[in-house]
Symmetry: C2
Subunit: 89 residues, 2 copies
Protein backbone atom coordinates (compact mmCIF):
# COMPACT_ATOMS: atom_id res chain seq x y z
CA UNK A 1 0.00 0.00 0.00
CA UNK A 2 3.05 2.28 -0.09
CA UNK A 3 2.34 3.79 -3.52
CA UNK A 4 1.72 7.52 -3.86
CA UNK A 5 -1.47 8.21 -5.78
CA UNK A 6 -0.76 10.59 -8.68
CA UNK A 7 -4.35 10.69 -9.94
CA UNK A 8 -7.68 8.93 -9.46
CA UNK A 9 -9.97 8.19 -12.40
CA UNK A 10 -13.50 7.51 -11.13
CA UNK A 11 -15.37 5.40 -13.66
CA UNK A 12 -19.10 6.01 -14.00
CA UNK A 13 -21.52 6.74 -16.85
CA UNK A 14 -19.00 8.04 -19.43
CA UNK A 15 -17.33 6.21 -22.32
CA UNK A 16 -14.83 3.48 -21.51
CA UNK A 17 -12.41 4.90 -24.10
CA UNK A 18 -12.64 8.36 -22.59
CA UNK A 19 -11.61 7.08 -19.15
CA UNK A 20 -8.83 5.01 -20.70
CA UNK A 21 -7.46 8.03 -22.56
CA UNK A 22 -7.73 10.23 -19.50
CA UNK A 23 -5.76 7.68 -17.47
CA UNK A 24 -3.14 7.28 -20.21
CA UNK A 25 -2.62 11.06 -20.30
CA UNK A 26 -2.31 11.08 -16.49
CA UNK A 27 0.32 8.34 -16.61
CA UNK A 28 2.60 10.62 -18.62
CA UNK A 29 2.85 13.11 -15.76
CA UNK A 30 3.68 10.59 -13.02
CA UNK A 31 6.88 10.56 -11.03
CA UNK A 32 8.53 7.20 -10.49
CA UNK A 33 6.93 6.29 -7.16
CA UNK A 34 3.40 7.28 -8.18
CA UNK A 35 0.45 5.27 -9.46
CA UNK A 36 -2.86 6.07 -11.13
CA UNK A 37 -5.97 4.61 -9.50
CA UNK A 38 -8.89 3.53 -11.68
CA UNK A 39 -11.87 3.24 -9.37
CA UNK A 40 -15.36 1.88 -9.95
CA UNK A 41 -18.25 1.22 -7.58
CA UNK A 42 -21.24 -1.11 -7.92
CA UNK A 43 -22.38 -1.33 -11.53
CA UNK A 44 -19.23 0.44 -12.70
CA UNK A 45 -16.80 -2.17 -11.42
CA UNK A 46 -17.01 -4.11 -14.68
CA UNK A 47 -16.41 -0.90 -16.64
CA UNK A 48 -13.35 -0.08 -14.52
CA UNK A 49 -11.86 -3.43 -15.61
CA UNK A 50 -12.85 -2.63 -19.22
CA UNK A 51 -10.90 0.64 -18.87
CA UNK A 52 -7.85 -1.27 -17.65
CA UNK A 53 -8.19 -3.84 -20.48
CA UNK A 54 -8.43 -1.06 -23.07
CA UNK A 55 -5.33 0.65 -21.64
CA UNK A 56 -3.52 -2.70 -21.69
CA UNK A 57 -4.42 -3.37 -25.32
CA UNK A 58 -3.22 0.11 -26.31
CA UNK A 59 -0.07 0.18 -24.18
CA UNK A 60 0.97 -3.46 -23.96
CA UNK A 61 3.85 -4.20 -21.59
CA UNK A 62 4.47 -0.49 -21.02
CA UNK A 63 1.52 -0.56 -18.63
CA UNK A 64 2.21 -2.19 -15.26
CA UNK A 65 -0.59 -3.47 -13.05
CA UNK A 66 0.61 -2.63 -9.53
CA UNK A 67 -2.27 -3.84 -7.38
CA UNK A 68 -6.01 -4.44 -7.34
CA UNK A 69 -7.95 -3.64 -4.18
CA UNK A 70 -11.55 -4.65 -3.58
CA UNK A 71 -13.91 -3.97 -0.71
CA UNK A 72 -17.10 -2.19 0.27
CA UNK A 73 -17.74 1.39 1.32
CA UNK A 74 -20.61 3.57 2.38
CA UNK A 75 -21.73 6.26 -0.07
CA UNK A 76 -24.55 8.26 1.45
CA UNK A 77 -26.90 5.69 3.01
CA UNK A 78 -25.90 2.73 0.88
CA UNK A 79 -22.98 0.34 0.93
CA UNK A 80 -21.34 -0.37 -2.43
CA UNK A 81 -18.71 -2.87 -3.47
CA UNK A 82 -15.75 -1.21 -5.18
CA UNK A 83 -12.59 -1.96 -7.09
CA UNK A 84 -9.40 0.11 -7.20
CA UNK A 85 -6.97 -0.75 -9.98
CA UNK A 86 -3.51 0.72 -9.46
CA UNK A 87 -1.36 1.11 -12.56
CA UNK A 88 1.89 2.77 -13.50
CA UNK A 89 4.36 2.92 -16.39
Amino acid sequence: MGEKVGDIVIVSTGDTSEYALRAIVSLRGLSEDEVIVIKGRGDFIEKAIDVYNEMKSRMGDTLKLVKVNIGSERVGRRIFPYIEIKVKI
Copy 2:
Protein backbone atom coordinates in the same frame (compact mmCIF):
# COMPACT_ATOMS: atom_id res chain seq x y z
CA MET B 1 1.22 -16.53 -8.98
CA GLY B 2 2.81 -19.31 -6.92
CA GLU B 3 -0.34 -20.27 -5.06
CA LYS B 4 -1.88 -23.71 -5.57
CA VAL B 5 -5.56 -23.45 -6.38
CA GLY B 6 -7.59 -25.65 -4.01
CA ASP B 7 -10.97 -24.79 -5.52
CA ILE B 8 -12.58 -22.35 -7.95
CA VAL B 9 -15.99 -20.84 -7.27
CA ILE B 10 -17.44 -19.46 -10.52
CA VAL B 11 -19.97 -16.76 -9.72
CA SER B 12 -22.95 -16.45 -12.05
CA THR B 13 -26.74 -16.33 -11.67
CA GLY B 14 -27.01 -17.94 -8.21
CA ASP B 15 -27.36 -16.28 -4.81
CA THR B 16 -24.43 -14.30 -3.43
CA SER B 17 -24.82 -16.00 -0.05
CA GLU B 18 -24.78 -19.43 -1.63
CA TYR B 19 -21.43 -18.76 -3.34
CA ALA B 20 -20.04 -17.26 -0.14
CA LEU B 21 -21.06 -20.33 1.86
CA ARG B 22 -19.68 -22.69 -0.77
CA ALA B 23 -16.34 -20.85 -0.68
CA ILE B 24 -16.27 -20.83 3.14
CA VAL B 25 -16.85 -24.60 3.19
CA SER B 26 -14.05 -25.04 0.62
CA LEU B 27 -11.66 -22.99 2.74
CA ARG B 28 -11.97 -25.56 5.54
CA GLY B 29 -10.43 -28.26 3.37
CA LEU B 30 -7.41 -26.30 2.17
CA SER B 31 -3.82 -27.20 2.87
CA GLU B 32 -1.53 -24.37 3.90
CA ASP B 33 -0.17 -23.41 0.49
CA GLU B 34 -3.56 -23.46 -1.25
CA VAL B 35 -6.01 -20.72 -2.11
CA ILE B 36 -9.64 -20.55 -3.21
CA VAL B 37 -10.38 -18.57 -6.37
CA ILE B 38 -13.66 -16.65 -6.63
CA LYS B 39 -14.11 -15.87 -10.30
CA GLY B 40 -16.63 -13.69 -12.11
CA ARG B 41 -16.88 -12.60 -15.74
CA GLY B 42 -18.69 -9.61 -17.29
CA ASP B 43 -21.88 -8.80 -15.40
CA PHE B 44 -20.88 -11.16 -12.59
CA ILE B 45 -17.70 -9.30 -11.64
CA GLU B 46 -19.59 -7.08 -9.21
CA LYS B 47 -21.24 -10.14 -7.67
CA ALA B 48 -17.86 -11.84 -7.23
CA ILE B 49 -16.78 -8.85 -5.13
CA ASP B 50 -20.09 -9.05 -3.21
CA VAL B 51 -19.25 -12.70 -2.46
CA TYR B 52 -15.84 -11.67 -1.12
CA ASN B 53 -17.40 -8.86 0.95
CA GLU B 54 -19.96 -11.26 2.44
CA MET B 55 -17.21 -13.77 3.31
CA LYS B 56 -15.20 -10.94 4.88
CA SER B 57 -18.12 -9.75 6.99
CA ARG B 58 -18.76 -13.31 8.21
CA MET B 59 -15.15 -14.32 8.78
CA GLY B 60 -13.40 -11.03 9.64
CA ASP B 61 -9.62 -11.22 9.93
CA THR B 62 -9.66 -15.00 9.57
CA LEU B 63 -10.10 -14.48 5.84
CA LYS B 64 -6.97 -13.36 4.01
CA LEU B 65 -7.14 -11.68 0.60
CA VAL B 66 -4.12 -13.10 -1.22
CA LYS B 67 -4.39 -11.46 -4.62
CA VAL B 68 -6.86 -10.01 -7.11
CA ASN B 69 -6.27 -10.62 -10.82
CA ILE B 70 -8.15 -8.86 -13.59
CA GLY B 71 -8.02 -9.23 -17.36
CA SER B 72 -10.00 -10.29 -20.38
CA GLU B 73 -10.57 -13.70 -21.92
CA ARG B 74 -12.37 -15.23 -24.84
CA VAL B 75 -15.42 -17.37 -24.07
CA GLY B 76 -16.84 -18.79 -27.28
CA ARG B 77 -16.83 -15.90 -29.74
CA ARG B 78 -16.88 -13.06 -27.25
CA ILE B 79 -14.25 -11.45 -25.08
CA PHE B 80 -15.19 -10.83 -21.46
CA PRO B 81 -13.50 -8.92 -18.67
CA TYR B 82 -12.98 -11.05 -15.57
CA ILE B 83 -11.87 -10.89 -11.97
CA GLU B 84 -10.20 -13.63 -9.93
CA ILE B 85 -10.18 -13.10 -6.18
CA LYS B 86 -7.73 -15.38 -4.37
CA VAL B 87 -8.42 -15.97 -0.69
CA LYS B 88 -7.15 -18.25 2.04
CA ILE B 89 -7.40 -18.72 5.79
